[in-house]
Structure formats: structure tokens, C-alpha cells
Amino acid sequence: MGEFKVHRVRFFNYIPSGIRCVAYNNQSNRLAVSRTDGTVEIYNLSANYFQEKVGCEDGSVKLFQITPDKIQFERNFDRQKSRILSLCWHPSGTHVAAGSIDYISVFDVKSGSAVHKMLVDRQYMGVSKRKCIIWGVAFLSDGTVISVDSAGKVQFWDSATGTLVKNHLIANADVQSIAVSDQEDSFVVGTAEGTVFHFQLVSVTSNSSEKQWVRTKPFQHHTHDVRAVAHSPTALISGGTDTHLVIRPLMEKVEVKNYDAALRKITFPHRRLISCSKKRQLLLFQFTHHLELWRLGSTVATGKNGDTLPLSRNADHLLHLKTKGPENIICSCISPCGSWIAYSTTSRFFLYRLNYEHDNISLQRVSKMPAFLRSALQILFSEDSTKLFVASNQGSLHVIRLLEGSFKHLHTFQPQSGTVESMCLLAVSPDGNWLASSGTSAGVHVYNIKHLKLHCTVPSYNFPVTALAIAPNTNNLVIAHSDQQVFEYSIPDKQYTEWSRTIQKQGFHYLWLQRDTPITHISFHPKRPMHILLHDAYMFCIIDKSLPLPNDKTLLYNPLPPTKESDVIRRRTAHAFKISKIYKPLLFMDLLDERTLVAVERPLDDIIAQLPPPIKKKKFGT
């Protein structure tokens, strides 16, 4: 399908933040993950573990300390000498267990007095450690309190008598987190060594009613501290300093052995952090608190497949733009012409004008942004860089005309009546006539920019949209969903295209459907209208709509056949999906011009190298 020069970019120095806390909601089957930089991510576990929303509350690092003073408004609990690091309510709400340093207190909620104070042994493998920090407590309905502490212990206490019932020494390092299943028959703990242990309540003998807690399974999916764990009915969820979110299905709870039974490890965000100016060959990288602008290098050499070409000019770091204030950056964008940069934090919107004079760049902030542009979820420039589209978090879409150094508010598309869903994905047609926007669930809206009115709404689909794009000339809207389905919808005809219907009828290749990262970007080849380029974190794919679709028997991932094969064989084995897995983990890929691609990779090793060193474990003589 052609030969490309690929700008292989590895200088995007992105480090995902460590996971601080995870919470699972059974009703909605969603998972909330908070990171150390203050972001909160919501994952929809029903929709192929897709990351639906990202929000930043105040952008600050918060250590969740709950002291008795903070719940003062309800009742003043007996004052404790040291701070409280963990809390758990009894399911009936009558008692609270609080983990502190060296002891656990049980409070009676009515009286506010401490019923029991259970001292935790400081001894650790015979050596007295200075302090024993209770990192987590769980209160079961039968009155059992389970504590995990910095001495590597999991302890069971009887809250009625205040006595230690059972002690499991499970780690040489801190046990940092605990989560109990709703049925209270199993719980999970995470240690600073990166191990997650599963405990289960099992019968002592096969048919006796007497049950006891037994440590059943250890899992080692992390290299660093497991700071947070959660227990869904079918899986153990853990996250920590090494920034991976791991969802480990419990095989005995999985009814059908399908792809849901596979381990999920989510490392990269399911959204774009990179935008690109094709005209000037610029890349804009979004970090938590700053933006970086890079210019790609160039070469005059040519070569054959696999060659690395000598650079005539290396890539330049042009700009480092720091945000003002503590807030995190939510979204950012550079205009196709490279003259505008816009970004938004939780409460402010910023627009900059860039001027290029030979090698010098000057940056000028556009002041007096209107009040309604307070915070944006997504920003997009039109292809000719004359218009700016902003999706606000209230669900409205603002259209702004950009003039030399100033702007004019053209129109605001108000959210559809009855919906409050905010739009988080935008796409504009290259001719500037159409704008498509999508939220997480309720379909894709297509607006006519010329007449400033809603053109049509693509029917909503069960799974959230992960990427959107409008093809040049045909104005076909290509939509990728989290269940790996791809639709093509003709905007002028207001219907799905013939090709889309064909592939829906035949179905995607099973290996295509089994990929576990969502498609995050779609683009088109300016000269080849039959091609669609899309990528996820581990592959990029060119779909050639003119070729036959692969069925489950054909090889989906079909590397370049040797040139000595005859054309007949090549043609026979060719199918519509041309996949390359050379670049991974792939955070961004786009077509700069007909023969040039840009790929932004973020090797995992580079991330690991920048994390704090993990707890050292002895390899020999253990």
C-alpha cells in the first residue's frame, strides 16, 4: 500500500502518574481511578474497559488523611494521639474502625467514644521496627476487622472483644491496601513489593459449615507499590506507583471463557495527548502542567524498507509553555498551519498566536477570552486554521473565527434538549463544512458549519466512541467504538455507507475484535480516497476499502510477503486490513503528507527508568 518515510519520535517524555486510589461501583460496573497528579479517570468495565472520562479536581496532590476533627460536624470522636491513616465503617453504620500508627481504634458512632483500641505488634521478623503504620482496615458485618500494616501483616481482629484472631505475615514490606468483596467471602491486599494477594473464606473441610480465611493466590503484576486495590464481583483490580492499572479476572467467577477472562493491563491513556501541525511539521505534546512544541527534522536521502535515513536536520524543541497556577491541563491543540496553540485547564482557556521569523518564534497570548470559554474538554482547529471549535464541559459547542491575532465568537451549538452529556470528541471535515461531535454514549452529532445548524445525528451505539474523523471529498464520517467496531457514515447522504454495511454484515476478523486498546486516532490519505488510517497503542492499520475483507480464516496480521512471490499470490493473500506492529507503544500516528508519516512512541522501559526504584528483592540465597 505504498512506501512511507516515518518520523519515529521517542522524545515525548510522558510519564503516567502513579495510581493512588481505585474505587469500583457495582451498579454501573465502572471504576474510578485517581492518580497522584490529581486526575480522576472513569473506566467503563462493560465497554471493553474503555476510559470514558478524565477530570481534574484541583490539580493538586492530595494525601487523603482523615482525622477525627474532620468528621467533627457529626460527632466528636474521642481524640486520638496520632493521625488516622485508614477508616472503615461497619456495614450497619454503628461502628467505625480507624487504623492509626501502632493501633486500630473502633469507635461507636452513637456515643463517639472509642470502644476498643487494638495494639498492633511492631515486631517485624523479630526486629522491632520503629512504627507500625496501619495502611488499611476493613470492617466485616460479623464484626471482624481486617488490618494491613507496614510490617507486612494481614491481621484479623474481633471488634467485640478487641482481640487478635489471626495473623498472616505475607510480605517483607508494607501491605498498603485492602478491598473486600460485597459478599465478604474474599478480599484482596496489595503490598509494596508489587504483589497482590487474594484471601478467601473457605470451608475447613469439604462439607463443614466452619469456614476460615485462607490466603489463596498471589499475583505479581506490578513492579512497585500497590497503593490501591478494588474487588469487583469477577475481578481483582490493582494499581500503584508503577502507573499500570491491572484488572485480573477471577477465573472461578468467570462464567464464559471469552476475551473478558483475560488479564487487562492499562498503561496509556485512551485519549490523545499529541496534536500535529502538518504544514509546519510541528508536534505539540501535552503534559500535566506544561506543553512542549517540537519541530520534526528532515532528510534528503531515500532508502528501501527498513532503512534509517541520515538526518539533514534534527528535531528541535521550540517551546516549553508552562501553565499558570496549579491546575492540570485537560486538553490542547495546535492549528494545522502551526500559528495557533490553544489549551484548557479546569477553569481557564488559553489561546496563543505563534509568529515564525526564520528560526525565531515569538509567542503572543490572545487576551480577553470570553467568559463562556472557561473550560474545555476538547479543542479543534479547522483545516484552514480560520475557525476554532471548543467543546465545553457543559455540553455546548462554541465556534470561533480566528483573525490575525484576534477572534470573533460565531455561534454556540447548545446541547440537545434533555441531554447534559458533554462532548469529548470532535472532528471537522477538511472542507470546513461539517463538524462532528460525540460524547460517551449518546450518538454522534453532525453540524453544518455554513448554516450553523444540526445536520443529523448518527444513531447511538452501545459502546462509547473512541475516535472520529471525516474523510476529505466524500465527507464520510468514520467512527471507532470501544468494542473495536468501525463504522463509516456518509454525512451528505445521512446513512451508513455501502462498505460499512458490508463489513457489519460480514463482521470484523476475530483478532481485530480481540485487541485490547482502543483506536485513538483516525486519518486519511489525501490522494487515496479508499484508504483509512487508524491506530491503537500496539498497531497501526491502513484499511483499503477496495480490497476484499478478511474472514476469520485469513491471516489478519499479514506482514509484507516476500517480493519473490508472484503477483498472483500477493493479490490473493491481500486483504483490506494492512497492519503494522513496528511502532509500539504507539501514542500518536498521523500522515504529514502523501509520503510521510509521523509516529510517536513511548517505550515502557523509558517510563520505568524514570520511576523511583522498586523495593529490592534478594535473588540469591533466599
Binding site: E3, K578, F620
Partner: protein, 715 residues
């Protein structure tokens, strides 16, 4: 756990209305499609999952189909016989059977067999078999008569054995049954007479068979309601001779013994059979699944509208004519797990099937019936096959009676004869019985100790300690190290007490009596002459950065050792025990044990024996460490792990004693030194590890490509 799922009716058309009932259900070349031949004039092709017919063909009025239609798997065509002699071959596209290919043969056909991977075979009523191709080439060829007059084919089946078809058919003549096996790779026909045994009066009502490499296991359901099994060898020792095969009881009273018709049997897999028929005299007909291995009823399903007494099984489906309609009952046998048995796994149960838990009561199964006293299920009395088999196997019977009175020599001869016979499935139970009989006699008259016979029996590899607990006891009593060594090598389940008792004997027995014993020496090689070719360079002292750390830490013990370096060197060279004792001790080292149960018994070993054993173990360790792979020479030597584990065990159990014995002092010191050096190595390794990691990191960085490059990619 085997289970029957909810069945469904296949046909909307009543079947089996004709005088001949339903002729057959046969597989077609497509999975899920089956040819159903109705007794009258019709052949219907059904797609089971859709529950609908795909095609239907009938012969002309006046003609009658006499043999079920089959599919030729090689061509995909269908073949049917009408009026006994006329073959019709047609394909899916044909509409009218009258216009399709026709061949009239010279003899009457009993059945056409078709199986994947072979051409269809035609079995004639006179017992001759022909390939379809050869037959079609010359339809009027003469067909020979194989079976005698008045002999009638009752049942037939075809198997693929090593890619060649093997056909079995059963004939009957005046109440006697014969089995014929026709092999097509060698074109041999062997004939067997089925010996019915005690139940000679019963009439066989249904047959089924399965095949393994050597035998066809022929099961028959007799009119007494019991299932019998007959093993018919596929490769007969003497094909010319008329041979007899005995049948043995497999399951007792699976159907009511007064059920005269409407009973059928089919084998489902290795351990399961399906039985059709009324379980009790008064009850309705049932289809039930029995596990032949555990002799348990797995599940059953009532068929209230009656059946035709015919049962077919293909793939996962059982076909049965229920009332007037063909019913398909899917059968599933999932792998059962311990977790499943304990109730940890969920099992969805169909409301339509009732599962009757049925366990063998071993107490009552020894012959006497508890018949009527209990509920419905207990009427299906189960008996262990063993008792019947014992009676029926003449060689073992003879041997058992010989054991009771004859001399050791005679018993040996009888045993040789018995062992020369081809092993039957009940071989190990019989061997167990023989051993217990021998030991029983030994107990009664202590002078009787048939050692050679016992050794021969142990070497059959089928015995275990639990099968004959008295055997090792007797050998221990007699201090028969030879038998004990054999037992240690062969038995997988020796309790730790017995292992320890063996060890005591092995350590205490005098060298003199050992010399007489014949002991298997393969685990011992002559250590002294194994000249160390790959001997590791011996380094006595390690200098850490120029100074000797050991001198400061353990000056005393080193001096103790250094005092007599000559002694130590000598000690390492010679084995502390004679080779025969070493072989016995190696058998102990190889045996399986659980630390918890072994430790208390090790405490009872006298101190000097502990020291001796420790010395031997230490000697083995030194031998191990002489070569780079840390293994001992020889055929089946103890491994380093086994040696180390036993050293630890012995020291754990007897530490206080060993510390007190002066002879053990130098040994303990060398062990101490060894452990210390191990700790030293580990800590050094841990130190080096950091450096290695740094090196690895450097290496990685070098391999890492530049942060930015422009590459060419062709898609």
C-alpha cells in the same frame, strides 16, 4: 459428570409405523446431518440443530427398504438397499429414487457399513464382506457363504483401527453366539465362540462395542438385565483355530429382568454406557447413563411414551424413537474435578433430567443382595467384578489353590505359568489377591516365606503398599533387604514409618549378611575409580581483597579442621559403607516422604547409625561437588537435592545427639564450614547482582535507538 440434556423431537412425521420399525440412524458426511431410514419406504436427511428435514426420498410402492441408508464419506453419496438385493446410490440433488443408479446383486445384503476414511463395506447375510467399488464393478459376482446353516447375523459394527477398517459381526445358532472379526489390511477373518458362563440360559438382547488398540470390548445386555463385557482380541494369536472368549459381568441389573423387548445398550465413551429399558418391572422405560468404572448410575430420563428398543449414538447425541417420533437427547460428559465434587463449581442442572446419586456400597457388594429392603435405587445391585473374574480365570484359580498347600517350588512354577498369560484388565487385583494369599499362609506357618515368588510379583509393577500392606511388614520381620529394596523402588505409597524401619535395618544389618544378599547395585557406581576428569579446581582459601576474612570469624573451627587435614582428605576418598549397603541407602534416598511424618521416626535411630548415615551422605555430597554438573555417576544415582534434604532431616531430628558424639564432631564441623561457604557465596552473588544490573542497563541504553529517526516503511 455425565449428563443428559433436554431432548427434542426431530421429526414431525410419525416414524417406525411400518412392520419393521425404524431401520436406522446413520451419520452423513456433514456434521449435524443424519440419515434416518424408516422401515417402510422412506429415507429422510435431518439437520439436527435446526430440527428439520433437508431431504426425503422414497422407493416405489411395492419395494421395501431392507437396510439403513448410509453415506459414502468418500463421495458424499447415499446408499440404500431395497428388497435385500438392490443397491441404490444417489446424491443430494436427486429427487426420485427410482431414477438413480441401481445395481442388483447376487446375494442378500445384511448391512452396508460406511466409516470415515474407508470405502463403504457390504456385509452379506451369509457373512461375506465386499468393498463397494469391487462390488459395483461386477454386481453379479458370486458371493461365498461364510457362516454355517441356521446361523444368523444378529448384530454388526465397524471400527477404524490404525487407519484400517475392522468389522465385527455376531451370529447366533441354537442359543450359541459367535463373533467374527474381519480385518481388511490383512484380509483375515477370525471366529470366536462367546462363552456365556453361568448365565447360559439368558438371551442376549442388545450388543454394543468399543475398541482400543488390541481389543474390541463387546458389551451385551442380557435378558437377566445385566451387562456383560467380552474382550475380543483384534489380532488373534492363532487365526485358524476356533477360539473361545469368556464374558464377564460388568453391571448388574441395569434393567428389569422381565423386560422382554425394548431394551438397548450403547457405549458412549471409555467409562459410560447408555441403557434403554425399564429399570424396574413395573416402571416406564428409561434411558440411563451408567459409569462402568465406578459402577454408578449417572443420570436417567424417563421416556413415558415407550420406545422401540433401539438406541443410536453419534457425536454428542443419543437418538431414540420415543412414541412415534424420533427424539434427540444431547449427552454431555464433562471432565469432573475435585472442586466440582466438593461443590465449589457451579453445575447447571437441567430440570428435565433427574440425577440419582448412586454410590457403591463396598460392604454389601461382596456377594449378598440387599435387594428389596431398600428403596428403588438399591435394587440395582452392584457387584465387584473381581469375585466373578476370580472364579472364571482358571489359571489364577489353580494358583490360589496351590498357594494354600503346595511347596514354595511348586508355587513358583505355577506363578510363572500364570504370569506368562496375557494380562487381563483385572490383573492387578488378581496379583493383590495372590500376594495376600501368600502372606496369609506365611502368617499361619512362619517357616513358609516364598521369597522368589514375592519378588516376581513385586516386579510386575502393579503392586503398591496399600494393596498388600503385610508384604513389607513380613520382609522387615525377616530382615529381607532384597525384598525391601525392591519394594522401595516399586511402591509409590510407602508410609514414613515403614521407610524409617527399612532405614534402620539397612543401617544395622551386618556386612556379612549383606554380602550374601543379592542387591540391585545400579544406583551405586564404583566411586573410587571415577577419575575426575572434569574435576573442579579446588581452591582452599578465598582471599577477599587481600585479607582472609575467615581467619577472624572462625579461627577456632578452622584450626580444628586444619589439625588433621590428612584425615579429612582420606575420609573424602573412601566410602564409609560397603557398596551393597550404599545401594540400599540409595533406595531410601529415592523414596518419597513427607518431612512432617518422617521426622519423629528418625529420632529413634541409634546415634552411631545416624553418624554413619550422615557420613555416607556427606561422602555423596563431596562426590557430587567434584564435577561441574553436581551429579553422581551411575545409572540411577541420588540427586543432590535428595542428599541435602536428608542431611537436613537427620540433623533436625538428631541434632542434640549428634552434637554429643565425638565421632561426629569433625563431620559437623565440615558441614558447618560448607553451610558457611554457601552463605558467603550467596551474599557475594547478591553484591554482584547490582553490578550486573548496571551493566544490563548500560547494555540496554546502547541497544536503544535514538530518540528520533526517520525510517522507511513499505506496506
Amino acid at each position: 459428570m455425565a449428563a443428559l440434556e433436554e431432548g427434542f423431537t426431530l421429526s414431525a412425521v410419525p416414524l417406525g409405523a411400518g412392520p419393521h420399525g425404524l431401520l436406522g440412524v446413520e451419520q452423513s458426511d456433514k456434521a449435524d446431518q443424519f440419515l434416518v431410514t424408516d422401515g417402510g419406504r422412506t429415507v429422510i436427511l435431518y439437520k439436527v440443530s435446526d430440527q428439520k428435514p433437508l431431504g426425503s426420498w422414497s422407493v416405489k410402492q411395492g419395494q421395501i427398504i431392507t437396510c439403513p441408508a448410509v453415506c459414502n464419506f468418500q463421495t458424499g453419496e447415499y446408499i440404500v438397499v431395497h428388497d435385500n438385493k438392490v443397491l441404490r446410490i444417489w446424491s443430494n440433488e436427486d429427487v426420485n429414487l427410482d431414477k438413480v443408479f441401481k445395481a442388483t446383486l447376487s446375494a442378500e445384503i445384511y448391512r452396508i457399513h460406511s466409516i470415515q476414511g474407508a470405502e463403504p463395506l457390504v456385509l452379506f447375510k451369509e457373512g461375506a464382506v465386499r468393498g463397494l467399488e469391487a462390488l459395483l464393478a461386477e454386481p453379479q459376482q458370486k458371493i461365498e457363504t461364510v457362516i454355517s446353516d441356521e446361523e444368523v447375523i444378529k448384530w454388526t459394527k465397524i471400527f477404524m483401527v490404525f487407519k484400517h477398517p475392522v468389522l465385527i459381526f455376531i451370529t447366533e445358532k441354537h442359543g450359541n453366539y459367535f463373533a467374527y472379526i474381519q480385518k481388511f489390511n490383512s484380509h483375515t477373518l477370525s471366529k470366536y465362540t462367546l462363552v456365556l458362563g453361568q448365565e447360559e440360559k439368558s438371551v442376549i438382547q442388545s450388543f454394543t462395542a468399543s475398541v482400543d488398540r488390541k481389543f474390541i470390548s463387546l458389551m451385551s445386555l442380557s435378558s437377566d438385565g445385566c451387562i456383560y463385557e467380552t474382550l475380543v482380541p483384534i489380532h488373534p494369536s492363532d487365526p485358524e483355530k476356533d477360539q473361545r472368549v469368556v464374558r464377564s459381568l460388568l453391571l448388574k441389573t441395569v434393567v428389569s429382568d422381565d423386560a422382554r423387548n425394548g431394551v438397548a445398550l450403547t457405549v458412549l465413551d471409555q467409562d459410560h454406557v447408555a441403557v434403554l429399558g425399564p429399570p424396574l418391572p413395573s416402571s416406564k422405560e428409561c434411558i440411563s447413563i451408567w459409569n462402568t468404572k465406578f459402577q454408578t448410575l449417572q443420570t436417567s430420563k424417563e421416556l413415558s411414551q415407550g420406545t422401540s428398543g433401539q438406541l443410536w449414538y453419534y457425536g454428542e447425541n443419543l437418538f431414540v424413537l420415543h412414541g412415534k417420533f424420533l427424539m434427540v437427547i444431547p449427552y454431555k460428559c464433562e471432565v469432573s474435578s475435585l472442586a466440582g465434587a466438593l461443590g465449589k463449581l457451579k453445575h447447571s442442572q437441567d430440570p428435565g433430567t433427574q440425577t440419582v446419586p448412586h454410590f457403591v456400597n463396598w460392604e454389601t457388594s461382596r456377594g449378598h443382595r440387599l435387594g428389596s429392603q431398600n428403596s428403588e435405587q438399591s435394587k440395582r445391585i452392584l457387584r465387584r467384578r473381581k469375585t466373578e473374574v476370580n472364579v472364571q480365570n482358571p489359571a489364577s484359580k489353580q494358583l490360589l489353590s496351590a498357594i494354600k498347600k503346595d511347596s514354595e517350588k511348586h508355587i513358583e512354577e505355577e506363578l510363572c505359568k500364570f504370569l506368562a498369560i496375557k494380562p487381563t484388565p483385572d490383573f492387578n487385583t488378581i496379583i493383590g489377591d495372590i500376594v495376600s494369599e501368600l502372606l496369609g499362609r506365611h502368617k499361619a506357618e512362619p517357616s513358609f516365606y516364598p521369597r522368589n515368588s514375592l519378588m516376581q510379583l513385586i516386579q510386575t509393577h502393579v503392586l503398591s503398599h496399600s494393596l498388600c500392606p503385610g508384604l513389607m511388614e513380613a520382609a522387615l520381620e525377616k530382615a529381607d533387604v532384597q525384598v525391601l529394596q525392591l519394594c522401595l523402588q516399586q511402591f509409590p505409597d510407602i508410609p514414613e514409618t515403614v521407610t524409617c524401619a527399612c532405614l534402620k535395618i539397612f543401617l544395622s544389618i551386618s556386612d556379612g549378611s549383606l554380602q550374601e544378599a543379592e542387591i540391585n547395585m545400579e544406583s551405586v557406581s564404583d566411586y573410587s575409580d571415577s577419575v575426575q576428569e572434569e574435576k573442579m579446581e579446588e581452591q582452599t582459601e578465598v582471599l577477599h581483597n587481600g585479607f582472609n576474612a575467615e581467619e577472624e570469624n572462625c579461627g577456632n573451627c578452622d584450626r580444628e579442621l586444619n589439625k588433621k587435614p590428612q584425615d579429612a582428605a582420606e575420609e573424602t576418598m573412601s566410602c564409609p559403607v560397603i557398596p551393597k549397603r550404599a545401594a540400599l541407602l540409595n533406595a531410601i534416598l529415592h523414596s518419597a516422604y513427607s518431612e512432617m511424618f518422617l521426622l519423629p521416626h528418625l529420632k529413634d535411630i541409634p546415634a552411631q547409625h545416624v553418624t554413619l548415615f550422615l557420613q555416607y551422605l556427606y561422602f555423596l555430597y563431596l562426590k557430587c561437588s567434584e564435577n561441574a554438573t553436581m551429579t553422581l555417576p551411575g545409572l540411577h544415582p541420588p540427586t543432590l537435592n535428595q542428599i541435602m534434604d536428608w542431611i537436613c532431616l537427620l540433623l533436625d531430628a538428631n541434632f542434640t545427639v549428634v552434637v554429643m558424639i565425638p565421632e561426629a564432631k569433625s563431620l559437623l564441623l565440615s558441614l558447618y564450614k560448607f553451610v558457611k561457604s554457601q552463605i558467603c557465596i550467596c551474599s557475594e552473588l547478591n553484591k554482584i547482582e547490582v553490578s550486573f544490573r548496571e551493566l544490563q542497563k548500560l547494555n540496554q541504553e546502547k541497544n536503544n535507538r535514538e530518540l528520533y529517526s526517520i525510517e522507511v516503511l513499505e506496506l
